[in-house]
Subunit: 208 residues, 4 copies
Amino acid sequence: MKEKRSIQRGQAKGAKNKAGIPPDNREKILATALTLFTERGFFGTPTSLISKEAGVATGTLFFYFPTKGKLIDTLYRRIKCEAAKGMCRDFGREKTALGKLRRIGLNAVGWGIENPARHKFMEQFAHSPFVSTTAHEEGMSHFLFLKELVGDGIREGTIRNIDPDLLFCMMASSLSGLIAQAYTEKDPSRRKKIIEEGLDFIFNGIKT
Amino acid sequence: MKEKRSIQRGQAKGAKNKAGIPPDNREKILATALTLFTERGFFGTPTSLISKEAGVATGTLFFYFPTKGKLIDTLYRRIKCEAAKGMCRDFGREKTALGKLRRIGLNAVGWGIENPARHKFMEQFAHSPFVSTTAHEEGMSHFLFLKELVGDGIREGTIRNIDPDLLFCMMASSLSGLIAQAYTEKDPSRRKKIIEEGLDFIFNGIKT
Amino acid sequence: MKEKRSIQRGQAKGAKNKAGIPPDNREKILATALTLFTERGFFGTPTSLISKEAGVATGTLFFYFPTKGKLIDTLYRRIKCEAAKGMCRDFGREKTALGKLRRIGLNAVGWGIENPARHKFMEQFAHSPFVSTTAHEEGMSHFLFLKELVGDGIREGTIRNIDPDLLFCMMASSLSGLIAQAYTEKDPSRRKKIIEEGLDFIFNGIKT
Amino acid sequence: MKEKRSIQRGQAKGAKNKAGIPPDNREKILATALTLFTERGFFGTPTSLISKEAGVATGTLFFYFPTKGKLIDTLYRRIKCEAAKGMCRDFGREKTALGKLRRIGLNAVGWGIENPARHKFMEQFAHSPFVSTTAHEEGMSHFLFLKELVGDGIREGTIRNIDPDLLFCMMASSLSGLIAQAYTEKDPSRRKKIIEEGLDFIFNGIKT
DNA sequence: GATGAATGAGGCTTCATTCAT
DNA sequence: GATGAATGAAGCCTCATTCAT
């Protein structure tokens, strides 16, 4: 029972692959987890599957993320941050708050369609108990400026005077619906049309 | 444990509901499952917890529902059906398709607020892999008439001429956002205001 | 992924064996755990081994003991209690505190030799962090009367006037050494001699 | 992390001990392991924790000790040896075997109190399966001369004529109890009293 | 000599499901 | 119909050990 201890274990694999580029297991795990969580949900995705698909050992996952929860938290934070960045492209160019908001909406739809897995992930875990409260708060923080923008627009007179919380909430949910719908249309020009119709739908409800 | 139950077969065993009919075990299980699935998710709710909270033995649950999957499927079907019924109250009274649609929207919000657990359940499992495809399809079927209604409205000229699928999809997601937002406001008159503003938002985007 | 759920699982085994006597899995588990913990230590004994040796499924162990820790706690409490009972046989017959104490010592050695696994278990886990503090306290409580007995003896004049805590502690450790030594001697009459010599050693140190 | 260490080979890298010689990694590991094994047990102490607390890399530990088992073995051998040396201080001065034995007992108690971690370690692993049989045997060998000493005393007439094995065993266990008890008393003079009372207890049982 | 990322067997525990009563 | 002890696959995570740098 004691001597059984010395089996062959551990097997340090070169930290770089043949091309000399570090494969970076941490990133491989994050990428794999994103796909799997999105496809199968949190509980539907065993850590063992994540590591297998990522091509690393089970232990490796836990070397980088002490807990399955920490893994999804990390993913959530990162994606929320990326989404916020994706939304903001060039929106400074617009003059009015309404213009900025529409630009942001357009960016959001574009980002969502280009990053379907990320978008689905965000949708799925937006209110999930598997993501920690602090991660949720941090994620939300990137979007708080939108409420201010809505406020600006109302003061400016370009945006209808409704409860900014309500407007924010409904705009977010409509955009999400729009992304989903636009994504199903693969033809570029028809997709573009859908996006514009959808944004019209939303901004008819928003603008004064 | 629990107070010994043994009176008469199919009889008493504790509280009767208002009608004096004992809520049979099947119903107790469904009601408990609704609450728990909503609060804790599918994988977060062991069948053992459902049966314990429902006050029945573990085996009893499996007598009525051979599988946990069948249980959530049953729940999903039933709630989708109830939701559809709830939306349709009095909508025949309205003359135009737009009027009908707005009535349905109002009903939907009302139903969602009065049945928060059911609403949350629907949201949560709307795209869930735990609900079978057939249950999803059956659930969807109750809402298909809405697309026709949108088509009617376009032909009628009361509804803007956008892709009905898109309109349906965005209306659904906006309503969902509105329910969530309205539910957070507990004051009746302020809540009413939010609902109206929200419906205006949506129908500004819809009407011609 | 969903349908995979319905594999053949669970396999209720008759609660009684052929003789009609309930095999009582709970007791089988306790007995097996006693042996294995004694032979291999707490961490050296996987729960899987306990259940295998006890002839039950892994789940069964956790049905009775929600935790490996609870299992060893239960064992500890029970054995401490048995040991205390074993020590007290007929000690009421003796007149003096010293006499009672010697009777108890004799009983203790006898019990330890007749129950070597239990004795070894007590020794091994007497100060173990795997046993909860409350179990340790409960275990200790059965032996507290001994300190009073020592106090009686000192007042009576039959026992030397040393710190009762010290006396108690040294008596306990000596007895333990005596049990170990006596157990190695299998010949009954030589064993008896060892026991008497050992008790003499101890009580020479104790009596006035 | 940690302060970069790189000066000169075998040099500095932080604190030097009294002799100005840097306690090399091997010693740091042994010292850390002693503390941790004592506080948390063998299985309760991951090698990773040992190396972290010792301020070395995981690999370093395995450079010096190919196995966790070899590490505890080394520790056990060393401590047993130190304990034996500690017991023997000045015992040559005594004339009779009884005197020598009492001197040894006194030294043993003193050593145990001054080296509580070492003492606890010895107690804890005295019968442990984690320490190899050969290490146990080697450890025991340092104490074999005591049996001869007992034999001498019996022949001499200063020690009671009991089975030397029994005497040795009981003396060892009593001393151990005494150390534990004395250690709890922090006041020097009261501690001294306890030690003397304890030794009296033991030697009343030993002397003729 | 030293480092620490990587490995994967194995440990504890959960839980859907069965079936004798 | 109802019960609940029993089952065992599978999940999350730990940790001794290795080896390229």
